[in-house]
C-alpha cells in the first residue's frame, strides 16, 4: 500500500523524523507489537522443538502407553497417535459431504431467502460454539437409547455415549463451518458466465453443479478440509468428554474393526493433557514429546494449506477463523 502512496517508489518511504512526537511513539508501538508477535511464535516453536527433540525417542511411536508410575515402563504414544489419525479421518469424512452440500445449497439455490439466512447464521453459531459445549451436547444426544449402537452400555444398562463414532460426529461439527466457508468463497469466485455457458449448452442445473462447479472448487474444498483437520487434531475438550481420554484404545464388542470404533480411546491432545501436571500421570517429558508431534502435525497441515491456497489462490482469508 505504501508503494501506491509514493507512486513508483522513486524515493525512500516518507521518513518519520518530521512527525510529531506522539505519532512517532505510536509508530514505535506498532513495531514493538509486530516484532513481539514474531518473537512469541518463534519462542513457542523453538522451545517445543528443543524440549520435544530432547525427549522424543523412536520407540515412543511404536509402544503402547501403560498407566504406571515407573516412567521407564509407561510406554509410548502409539494408541493416541492412532486415535488422532482415526478421529481426524472419520471427522473429515463426515464433514466434507455435509458441508459441501450446505455450501452448494446456500450459494446455488438459497431459496426461500429467509431459510438461507437462518442456515447462514446457524453455521456462524456453530462456528462460535465452544468445543466443550459441542461435547456436552454430543453426550446428551448420544446417551439416548436410539443411539446405543454407536457406543456401548455401562454396567447399569444405560448408554455410555462415549466412543470414536460419537466423538467423530461432534468433531465434524468443528470442521463444518471451515469447509462451508471455504467452499462458498470458491463458488462465489466462479464468474456467472461460466454457469450461463453451461446452461446454454443444455445442461441442467444439477449437471452444471456436478460437472462444472464442483471440479473447479476442489482446491477450495481441500483448503477448508485441511484447516478443519488441523482443528480436529488439536481439539482436546471433545476428546476428554466424548472419547473418555483413556490411554489405550479399548475396543468394545465382537466385530473386529467395529469394536474399536465403538470403544473408548485417546488422542495426542488428551495424552498431553493427561501426562501434564494438570492430569494424573505427571510425566512432563512424555507430554513434551507428544505436544511436539502434535505441533508438527498442525504446522504441517498449515504449510499444506498455504501451498494449496497459493495454487488455488482462494480461501486464505478463512485460515484463522
Amino acid at each position: 500500500m505504501s508503494a501506491s502512496l509514493t507512486g513508483g517508489r522513486t524515493s525512500a518511504v516518507e521518513s518519520s523524523r518530521t512527525w510529531p512526537l506522539i505519532d512517532r511513539i505510536m509508530l514505535a508501538f506498532c513495531w514493538i507489537a509486530g516484532i513481539t508477535a514474531c518473537v512469541i511464535a518463534f519462542a513457542i516453536v523453538a522451545f517445543m522443538a528443543y524440549k520435544g527433540l530432547e525427549f522424543l525417542r523412536p520407540n515412543l511411536f511404536v509402544e503402547r502407553p501403560n498407566a504406571t508410575f515407573d516412567q521407564s515402563k509407561s510406554g509410548g504414544f502409539l494408541d493416541p497417535l492412532i486415535g488422532t489419525i482415526l478421529l481426524t479421518t472419520m471427522g473429515t469424512l463426515v464433514a466434507i459431504p455435509a458441508s459441501v452440500a450446505v455450501a452448494i445449497w446456500l450459494t446455488e439455490y438459497g431459496r426461500p431467502f429467509g431459510l438461507a439466512r437462518a442456515v447462514e447464521s446457524a453455521v456462524e453459531i456453530i462456528a462460535g460454539t465452544p468445543s466443550i459445549v459441542l461435547a456436552i451436547f454430543g453426550l446428551i444426544i448420544f446417551q439416548q437409547e436410539v443411539f446405543g449402537f454407536l457406543s456401548f452400555r455401562a454396567e447399569g444398562g444405560s448408554v455410555f455415549g462415549r466412543s470414536f463414532f460419537t466423538a467423530a460426529l461432534m468433531m465434524s461439527l468443528i470442521a463444518l463451518p471451515l469447509i462451508v466457508g471455504a467452499t462458498r468463497e470458491g463458488l462465489q469466485a466462479i464468474p456467472s458466465h461460466v454457469r450461463e455457458a453451461s446452461y446454454a449448452l443444455g445442461k441442467s442445473k444439477w449437471a452444471t453443479i456436478q460437472r462444472v462447479l464442483l471440479p473447479s472448487v476442489r482446491p477450495a474444498i481441500g483448503t477448508g478440509t485441511v484447516l478443519g483437520m488441523g482443528r480436529i487434531a488439536g481439539d482436546t475438550a471433545i476428546v476428554v468428554v466424548l472419547l473418555g481420554a483413556s490411554l489405550q484404545i479399548q475396543g468394545y464388542g465382537d466385530i473386529p474393526g467395529l469394536d474399536i470404533l465403538r470403544g473408548n480411546g485417546g488422542t495426542l491432545t488428551s495424552y498431553t493433557y493427561v501426562n501434564s501436571p494438570a492430569g494424573e500421570g505427571a510425566a512432563p517429558d512424555k507430554a513434551y514429546a507428544a505436544a511436539f508431534v502434535l505441533l508438527m502435525i498442525s504446522i504441517g497441515l498449515n504449510l499444506f494449506v498455504s501451498r494449496l491456497a497459493r495454487s488455488g489462490k482462494s480461501a486464505s482469508a478463512a485460515a484463522t477463523r
Binding site: 505510536m26 508501538f29 522451545f47 450446505v102 451436547f137 513434551y288 498449515n302
Partner: protein, 303 residues
C-alpha cells in the same frame, strides 16, 4: 439440517439443564462455593426427590469474566497495533513473515499452550514473582502456587490475538484507496492517515473482532483448566498485587474438570446448566459479531 441441529442443541441442553436452574432460581447466578457445592451434588442421594441442586456460580462467572475481559482488553491493543503494522508499516519482507506467524499462532493446539503455561510460566511466576511473605499472607484462604488468573489471561491473549489480527487486517485492507490517497495528497503523514481514516472507518470491524475473540475466549476450557489453578476462588481487586496471583476457575474449565461425574444425574444436570449458559452467551456473541459489521456496508466495504 444445520438449522435443526442448532435448534436441537439449544433445546436439548436446556431441557437437561432445567432442574438446576429451576431449583435454584435467581440464586443460581449468586455467590456460593461451587467446589464444595459440586461435591455435595455429586454425593446427593439417589432418590430423585432428594437430589441436591444447591449452587451459586458467581465465582465461576467472575473467573470467566475476569480472564476473558482482561485477555480481550490486552489483545485489542496488541492486535490493533500489529494489524496496522502489517498493513502499513512493515517492510515487505517482515510482512511476508508476519502472515504465517499469525496463522501459526492460531494453529497451535490449546493443549500445547496449556503445557507451556503449566510447565514454564507457572513455575516462573511461583519462584520469581511471588515472595514467601505474600504466600503466607493469604495462606489461610488459598495457596498461591503460581497458577493464577493473570497467567491464564496472558496466555489467552496470545490465543485470541490471531483472530482479531485477521479480522482487522482484512478490514484495513478493504478501506477505499481513494480516501487514503486523498489524505496523503493533503499532506497528512502516514500514521495520521492510518489512525484518523483507516482505523475510524473499520471501527465496526474492530468491534466485531473484539466480540468474536470474546466468544472464543469464553469457551477456552483446557488451557485455562491447566493454568488458572482451577479453584473456585474469587480474586478480590482490593488485595493489591496479590490479586494478580490468585487462582480462579471458569465455567468452561469446570466442565472439563468434572467430565468424569456426568453420569450422576443431578451433577450432570448442573454441568449441563453451565454448558447452556456458555452456549447462549457464545451464540449471542457470534450473532452480535456478525451484526457489528453491518455499518461498514454503508461505506460499500465488505470485509
Amino acid at each position: 439440517m444445520v438449522l435443526a441441529l442448532c435448534a436441537g442443541m439449544v433445546i436439548f441442553v436446556l431441557a437437561k439443564a432445567w432442574p438446576s436452574f429451576a431449583s435454584n432460581g435467581i440464586g443460581w447466578f449468586g455467590a456460593g462455593e461451587p467446589d464444595t457445592q459440586l461435591g455435595d451434588i455429586f454425593k446427593s442421594p439417589s432418590a430423585p426427590s432428594e437430589y441436591v441442586y444447591e449452587i451459586g456460580v458467581w465465582p465461576l462467572l467472575w473467573g470467566t469474566i475476569l480472564t476473558t475481559g482482561v485477555a480481550v482488553f490486552l489483545g485489542l491493543f496488541f492486535s490493533l497495533f500489529t494489524a496496522i503494522f502489517i498493513v502499513e508499516f512493515a517492510p515487505p519482507r517482515l510482512e511476508r513473515l508476519l502472515e504465517p506467524v499469525v496463522r501459526l499462532l492460531a494453529a497451535v493446539p490449546s493443549v500445547v499452550y496449556g503445557l507451556i503455561g503449566i510447565l514454564v510460566l507457572v513455575p516462573f511466576v511461583a519462584n520469581n514473582l511471588i515472595s514467601d511473605e505474600r504466600k503466607e499472607s493469604v495462606g489461610y484462604v488459598t495457596q498461591l502456587t503460581g497458577a493464577s488468573w493473570s497467567v491464564a489471561a496472558l496466555v489467552l491473549t496470545v490465543m485470541i490475538v490471531p483472530i482479531m489480527i485477521t479480522i482487522i487486517v482484512d478490514a484495513l485492507r478493504s478501506v477505499p484507496k481513494g480516501w487514503i490517497e486523498g489524505a496523503a495528497a493533503l499532506g497528512v503523514n502516514r500514521w495520521r492517515i492510518m489512525w484518523t481514516i483507516s482505523v475510524r472507518t473499520v471501527r465496526p470491524a474492530i468491534i466485531a473482532a473484539v466480540i468474536l475473540a470474546a466468544a472464543r475466549a469464553l469457551g477456552e476450557a483446557i488451557m485455562i483448566s491447566m493454568i488458572s489453578g482451577s479453584l473456585s476462588f474469587v480474586p478480590q481487586p482490593v488485595d493489591g498485587l496479590t490479586f494478580f496471583f490468585e487462582p480462579v476457575r471458569t465455567l468452561a474449565s469446570s466442565i472439563v474438570d468434572n467430565a468424569e461425574g456426568l453420569s450422576v444425574i443431578p451433577f450432570g444436570q448442573t454441568i449441563y446448566a453451565f454448558a447452556f449458559l456458555l452456549l447462549v452467551s457464545s451464540a449471542v456473541l457470534s450473532w452480535a459479531g456478525w451484526a457489528a459489521k453491518i455499518p461498514m456496508r454503508k461505506y460499500g466495504i465488505r470485509p
